[in-house]
């Protein structure tokens, strides 16, 4: 008997996510987001998703602007130096999006609670905040040890987690950067908080290649449900050490998100044309993609 390959197409992988599910998209702020996957969800017209995140940005704003999202649980939605997340803002102001706020560290700890299989994360410092005034999923209780007022924060409990990484093998072993930053760290936590894990990678390599650095394999095959090869899968966000943020594309996005009309045009011209992700990359063109690459001399 042979070992099972978990290689999947982007379309099949996106179809795993069902309307109404709790979805976590990897990365942090405007870094290393699984954008190709998010665009595919838009193409497939997913509806009524709950985005569960730590610090969210364009990946959430895109899905909100495309009408895929009815609720978001996070500490931040914005585009950092590219400004406010305007689809998010419009939807929140229009009342079509339920916004459930958490402090940043607690938003992260919710995934640790899911990873550890504990029914809540205990938090000491929420008294007096708008968080506990408006977020009724957080339950106050008295500490069984000290008697002090504490808050039980619910686990993140995503139904599906999707992250974009550098490389993996067909069995679902996925390697991470040796020198990490928080966007890589949060992805690692994300992928341990859920039992349906979809990983898009820049490149599928052989198992033999992966075994050269088993210490860098932070997602072992046992945790991966599907793996998809998606070059430039984080575009227009960056992938540390592989390619930079496409600042022009990001600014185009920010501008387009200014009104519902211009954003509809953006989706029509950028996301919906035939050809899926390959078509998206073709439209960007070789010169532009190559200009974003990071290169260094091989060791």
């Amino acid at each position: 008997m042979g070992r099972t390959s978990k290689l999947t197409s982007l379309q099949e992988a996106a179809a795993i996510v069902k309307d109404g599910q709790r979805l976590t998209l990897g990365g942090f702020a405007i870094y290393q987001r699984p954008m190709a996957f998010a665009r595919e969800l838009v193409r497939q017209g997913r509806r009524d998703l709950t985005i569960v995140g730590v610090v969210n940005a364009i990946e959430a704003d895109l899905l909100i602007g495309a009408g895929c999202v009815s609720r978001i649980e996070t500490s931040y939605v914005g585009l950092e130096k590219f400004g406010l997340a305007r689809n998010f803002r419009r939807a929140a102001e229009a009342g079509t999006l339920d916004t459930v706020d958490y402090p940043e560290l607690i938003a992260w700890d919710r995934f640790r609670a899911s990873q550890e299989g504990i029914p809540f994360w205990p938090c000491t410092f929420l008294g007096g905040s708008g968080i506990v005034e408006y977020n009724k999923d957080i339950v106050p209780f008295d500490c069984p040890v000290t008697g002090a007022r504490l808050w039980a924060v619910p686990p993140a409990a995503p139904d599906v987690v999707v992250v974009h990484a550098v490389m993996g093998d067909e069995y679902g072993n996925v390697a991470f950067h040796d020198r990490k930053m928080l966007p890589q760290s949060v992805d690692i936590t994300h992928t341990r908080s859920c039992d349906t894990i979809i990983v898009t990678v820049e490149k599928i390599v052989s198992g033999r290649e992966m075994r050269k650095r088993p210490d860098l394999v932070e997602i072992p095959a046992l945790r991966t449900t599907h793996i998809v090869e998606v070059p430039f899968g984080a575009h227009p966000t960056s992938l540390l050490g592989i390619y930079d943020c496409d600042e022009d594309a990001f600014r185009d996005y920010a501008t387009a998100s200014g009104t519902p009309e211009t954003f509809a045009d953006y989706l029509d011209s950028t996301v919906h044309p035939p050809g899926g992700h390959a078509g998206y990359l073709e439209a960007l063109g070789v010169e532009r993609l190559l200009a974003l690459r990071n290169v260094e001399l091989p060791a």
Binding site: M1, G2, R3, T4, S114, Q115, E116, G117, I118, N173, R192, S193, D195, G207, M210, R211, P214, D215, V217, E218, I219, P220, A221, L222, R223
Partner: protein, 274 residues
């Protein structure tokens, strides 16, 4: 056993292997020294690799809990130290560098593990902490280690007892390091335990399984060549040996796979003459 064309370890290895399903994740700690090493590390590793080589190519091995899917052809002897450069340099698919690591124990990522203790009782509780009263022990042992997690967070546990003696198979353990089925499945439920528990007790003489409703160990099979009275006399709680089948012997083909493909360097378990 010497009259059989296989060792007792080979017998147990193949029986264990057949109980693993494709796609499962198996955890083995690293015990050192003699029979304990054999039953807690050697046999489990051989069984998991046998399963991978036969019906379960997608089974995941967690060696010493942190070397994931090691390359067996590189293992020339059982590792004797959990955290040294020898084991670190053993080729494998992934390594756990930090706690918490790349698998989520308390989400139920581990399908089965292998544990042991100085005592096991009728309900499947095991004890690695002390003999006698905890507060004034006759013999103080190492402590509970990971056994609480083995018996509640793993989806099932194989209790591996290298010595099948009355003093180890007791009516009630002196200290519950790992919880079995006190009061049966309902009892576990009442204790707030929603997952896991012992599956088998494996000894050089026989294999026990559990009547989970009653919360009692019962014989599943007696190894070839073992007298049922020997099993009765070695077990400190009441069991019934009537009609218990003989443990299924490995086939010639299975032995060939075990000896040639799984453990070609005879690093994991003793093998019979060929």
């Amino acid at each position: 056993m010497s009259t059989l064309p296989y060792t007792i370890e080979e017998l147990i290895t193949v029986v264990l292997a057949k109980s693993f399903k494709d796609g499962e994740v198996g955890f083995t700690g690293l015990a050192t020294g003699g029979a304990a090493a054999l039953y807690i590390t050697g046999i489990p590793l051989a069984a998991m690799e046998f399963a991978r080589q036969t019906h379960a190519p997608n089974l995941t091995i967690l060696l010493a809990g942190w070397s994931i899917n090691p390359v067996f052809s590189e293992i020339r002897e059982l590792p004797s130290a959990e955290f040294d450069s020898g084991l670190q340099n053993l080729p494998c698919e992934a390594q756990m560098e930090t706690y918490p690591g790349p698998y989520a124990v308390r989400r139920g990522d581990v399908d089965f593990g292998f544990g042991s203790g100085v005592q096991v009782d009728r309900a499947g509780n095991i004890n690695s902490t002390c003999v006698g009263d905890f507060n004034k022990p006759k013999v103080r042992l190492v402590g509970s280690i990971l056994l609480p997690e083995h018996m509640t967070c793993f989806r099932r546990e194989y209790i591996m007892m290298p010595h099948h003696e009355v003093r180890s198979f007791v009516e009630k353990v002196d200290y519950v390091s790992g919880v079995g089925y006190p009061g049966g499945d309902a009892g576990r439920q009442a204790l707030g335990l929603t997952m896991g528990g012992p599956e088998w007790i494996v000894t050089p003489k026989c294999i026990f399984e559990f009547d989970r409703a009653a919360g009692q160990a019962r014989l599943r099979s007696i190894h070839p060549g073992i007298d049922p009275h020997d099993v009765l006399n070695s077990t400190g709680f009441a069991i019934d040996t009537d009609g218990i089948p003989t443990t299924q012997a490995p086939t010639t083909e299975e032995l060939a796979i075990l000896r040639r493909k799984v453990d070609p360097h005879h690093a994991l378990i003793p093998h019979g003459g060929e």
